[in-house]
């Protein structure tokens, strides 16, 4: 399947949940926030929240700022 991840198109195989996507990307789920098709995905639902073909997903974290 193909998704838009942080503005870039990406082909994914074997990933069907947000938790799976975070693990696949090598990220720490405690330090990020996820938006799927402009809706916040609560951390408590990562294990069940689906990733589907055509999704637009944003994964953000905190960086330095003023």
């Amino acid at each position: 399947m193909q998704i838009q991840l942080n503005g870039e198109s990406r082909v994914l195989e074997g990933v069907d949940t947000i938790a799976g996507l975070i693990a696949h990307l090598g990220l720490d789920g405690r330090k990020v926030a996820v938006e799927r098709n402009l809706e916040i995905v609560p951390k408590s639902t990562y294990a069940e929240a689906p990733v589907m073909d055509g999704d637009r997903i944003e994964i953000v974290t905190f960086i330095g700022g003023g």
């Binding site: 090598g26 953000v60 905190f62 330095g64 700022g65 003023g66």
Partner: protein, 258 residues
């Protein structure tokens, strides 16, 4: 000064009146050391896409730790209310914080706040339960409107972001302090320690700065200087300054002269 000189924003009480940014440092370690030297309890942070090409890059949260500092997520880079709301929803999910800093900018050259859009964004955020500290111009009328719309703190600029020019309009800042019941903090424009002292002497509740510390030759030493400057200004404000006089007034008594 008594140790209980605290200030409270949205129900949270702090001792340090210096909030520091976390941008522009050469690395996160220097950033963390500077924040500690400043005695800061609150740090501003930005929300951005994770680095997907190299997930092993150091993260701010591993150095400037959320259990040591209160994170104040900002909306830097947002030019509309909707962008600001979207950004802060993500920030709230990332860290669970409802205390946020709203900044809706306009012209990229001056980074001046767009006050009409800032006020609109504030209303959207307040409706979603955020506690919003608002970066704004030193316009008395807009500052009053922000407070009426539920701002948790009013944060007028002293001068443009990153300019280091010091407080340009002391009269407006003092008038804002006098008319406002929520905390007032100078946000942006401080260049050196005396600028921070001036802001505090005017009766502000605190100062927010980033570049003045991050771009100093020795950021850790400047952070310490800013800590003392804010305390000095606060104590001078509480102590009440002497009246200004046009002519001299001798300090040694004239009576008993030989």
């Amino acid at each position: 000064m008594s140790t209980n000189d605290t200030w409270t924003v949205a129900g949270r009480t702090f001792s340090s009146r210096l909030i520091v940014g976390t941008g522009k440092y050469k690395d996160y370690q220097t950033n963390a050391d500077a924040a500690r030297a400043a005695g800061a309890e609150i740090v501003t942070v930005a929300v951005r896409r994770v680095n997907l090409t190299d997930p092993s890059q150091p993260l701010l949260m591993d150095f400037v730790k959320p259990d040591e500092f209160t994170y104040l997520p900002n909306t830097a880079g947002c030019f509309t209310g909707e962008e600001a709301v979207r950004t802060l929803r993500l920030a709230r999910e990332a860290g669970g914080w409802s205390l946020v800093k709203l900044e809706v900018l306009s012209d990229p050259k001056t980074l001046y706040p767009d006050m009409e859009e800032t006020l609109r964004a504030l209303k959207l955020l307040v409706a979603e339960g955020f506690d919003v500290m608002v970066y704004c111009t030193d316009d008395l009328v807009y500052c009053r409107k922000l407070e009426e719309a539920g701002a948790a703190a009013i944060m007028p600029l002293g001068a443009p972001i990153g300019s280091g020019l010091g407080i340009q309009n002391k009269v407006n800042l003092r008038l804002i302090v006098e008319q406002t019941t929520v905390p007032v903090l100078v946000d942006a424009g401080v260049g050196t320690a005396s600028d921070a002292t001036v802001g505090m002497e005017l009766g502000c509740d605190g100062i927010l700065m980033n570049t003045a510390i991050a771009e100093a030759k020795d950021p850790i030493l400047m952070a310490s200087a800013m800590k003392h400057a804010v305390i000095a200004g606060r104590e001078a404000y509480l102590a009440g300054r002497m009246p200004r006089r046009l002519y001299a007034d001798p300090s040694s008594p004239l009576a008993g002269l030989i």
